[in-house]
Symmetry: C2
Subunit: 236 residues, 2 copies
Amino acid sequence: VLADRGHTILQIYSRTLEKAQKLAEKTGCFSTNNFDWLNKDADIYILTVKDDSIQQIASSLQLPGKLVLHTSGSVPMTMLSTISENTGVLYPLQTFTKDRPVNWREIPLCIEASNLKSYSTLKTFASSISEVVQPVDSDTRKHVHLAAVFVNNFTNFLYGQALSFIPDKLPLTLLKPLAEETIRKAFELGPQQAQTGPAIRGDLKTIAAHEEMLQEHPVALQVYKMLTDMISANKS
Amino acid sequence: VLADRGHTILQIYSRTLEKAQKLAEKTGCFSTNNFDWLNKDADIYILTVKDDSIQQIASSLQLPGKLVLHTSGSVPMTMLSTISENTGVLYPLQTFTKDRPVNWREIPLCIEASNLKSYSTLKTFASSISEVVQPVDSDTRKHVHLAAVFVNNFTNFLYGQALSFIPDKLPLTLLKPLAEETIRKAFELGPQQAQTGPAIRGDLKTIAAHEEMLQEHPVALQVYKMLTDMISANKS
């Protein structure tokens, strides 16, 4: 995506040279597995590595004056401060899966920088990638990352539970229009306004019938009981 | 929507005459609040009432030979058997909100009928409303209705929890592209394949940091702990 937006990728680093080469081939740039051979002419250096590796790299890499970014949701920007005085974060709020294309234009990019000059460069850079660029400080970003666990990981788990007691013969996509309308409603009306169902209605008869149906699905039953209790207790 | 698809609505019944009149005005048909004055010439009679009211109506209404439908997810079709021998169910798998338009063409309609003739009439009727018509028997429909509680009510509650610890200054729509990709992935890859996040990775450090962040949000913390435990236990 960076190459598509008119940026030149000078070099790709990976501890595993083979990986770096594979990626570098795609964009026609140089690759290395040695920090000493790092090209010093880039405007921006981006660390797209696992959270734990950021600290490791920070302790062995120095790029004074260069703009150095990481892309993690939960690692504070200050983790980069030993590398350069010009640091920043570019956190894309999306779930990525190998070989699944995503539409970068609509992925929210949460950005943060250590000073105004870095912020200005980062903002221009981020805006070339996505139409949704949002300044978010390290503490807020941590909370956004946690919210993403609820919206992505936990929601996906609920879908799995829902499908666990649906007969195999039914196409799962039957539930997709409902899932889509749930999102539209939640983000247009707000989840408080959008809440429906037996728990918020206090419909004890339906709740009892549902619990009876889940007797042979203990995990789904436990989820059902807890969330029903919470929604009931949250009623205004 | 029925009028738009070339059907003629002969009459609208409601216990409250005012409500019936209001709806009837929109479609230019007759209205009544008295079963004795019910038009006997309709091809299909549809009960779109609360679950508990279906039984009530069934005990006081007789339309021998007529095709009589209800639209509930959880009431068995046999509940209608005292009204007519030709009965059926037309359950639209979607969440409806007053004044929110929905695209009926893509709403899955789960249908069931008491005999072949009724099924044929119902299928033609349902297909005139939506492109997605699925035969679903009463027992399966109950399970689909329960799955809808997970996919709609519970997911919406999770969104509410996610937003509860996000600073007010952030636009909530920041999380919408993630929610949309979560659905796409879950329905394309299946939720088991699509599961990501600290729980499935066994990333105890991140889990501990998240729980720490939720100390002041006891409901969200309880949800986090339970779902994280379940996802961890479900790991293959």
